[in-house]
Subunit: 211 residues, 2 copies
């Protein structure tokens, strides 16, 4: 049954985001979904398969989002990348973004051996890579950074623990958190170099990001 599997994957997604692969138990997945553990294994052959299917589902959602963005006629490449980063942060704040598999996790081996997962990941990477090189050619992204560095950075920001820390602190709205992290990701922590010795009076107000 397809709807059942969708419900399972949504639960897996949430638990992966909350606790990570190793700390997530199949028992809890079954309990949260409301079915018996044995029934889970009729749908997915192993815990690794379960997690891989959830990761693939996220990548499919991302690919759908990329199609939406590609339909924007006059968007600059850097704005497409910012829109993607914004979307991944929204997903993470919604508690639906599984963390990247740790360097040496049992999950990693299963994922690299999963051709569907690898294929989806390549599709996402290729679209982002196209925007990255276009953005560099347009002078909007630092041309000195290898595109793969930009790509990895965007993937990593999708799972940035800073979002969770700020949300747990409770001092900012989701929208404020996203604006601040987009700012640090694309513009950095440092203040921009002053173009003249005496900046205009409005220069400082313009960099205010939170409402």
């Amino acid at each position: 049954m397809h709807a059942r599997e969708e419900a399972i994957l949504a639960t897996v997604n949430r638990l992966l985001a909350e606790k990570g692969f190793d700390a997530m138990t199949v028992d809890q997945v079954a309990y949260d979904v409301g079915i018996a553990k044995a029934s889970l294994y009729k749908h997915f052959a192993s815990k690794e398969d379960l997690a891989a299917a959830a990761m693939i589902r996220v990548l499919d959602l991302a690919l759908a989002q990329l199609e939406v963005l590609k339909a924007r006629p006059n968007a600059a490449p850097i704005d497409q990348l910012k829109a993607v980063a914004r979307w991944t942060m929204e997903v993470q704040l919604a508690g639906a973004m599984p963390s990247l598999p740790a360097q040496n996790s049992a999950l990693r081996a299963a994922l690299v051996g999963n051709s569907i997962y690898v294929d989806r990941l390549m599709q996402v990477s290729e679209q982002l890579g196209a925007w990255i090189t276009a953005g560099q050619a347009a002078g909007a992204l630092k041309a000195a950074l290898p595109p793969e560095v930009v790509l990895y950075t965007l993937f990593a920001r999708a799972c940035d623990p800073v979002l969770g820390l700020l949300k747990a602190g409770g001092n900012y709205s989701d929208a404020q958190i996203i604006e601040m992290l987009l700012s640090t990701c694309f513009d950095g922590l440092a203040a921009p170099a002053l173009p003249a010795k005496r900046p205009p009076a409005g220069a400082r107000a313009r960099v205010t990001v939170v409402g």
Copy 2:
């Protein structure tokens, strides 16, 4: 025996960095150290205690590094922060930086209940916080970012998975990786706004970061 405990913590540190808390087993710690598991439990009461001691050790190393940096007479606050970030990246590339505990890990509860850990973390945070606010006052760091956002970002970059991804790719030296990630952290992915319509010819060459 103090030297023995130091050897244990170094091993725990490495395994925490490689696999994370959940995937690290006490059996492997004992095997790597070369002692029996029961002997480990004579030194540390639990797996959580073991990990907490390793995290405290890293914080102590960081505090020592902060003392070194504070001895520099004419360093600007932002340069102190960059030096700290550089040090944490070097530690991570050396395989000795444990990952931040996942949002809902069993480790997190143990850490927040460990007064020594909390105390050390506060000490580090206070020194970094002083440099952050000073850097903002000096106009070197974006004043629009709340200091805690800068602080969390620096902590997160100490465990940034981008370092591991780039190192695994094998295309860059450790020094190149660090320079690039320092650049993305402090200056962002975007190219700086052009101060004039026609930048000088040397402007592009100046942003080349890797050798």
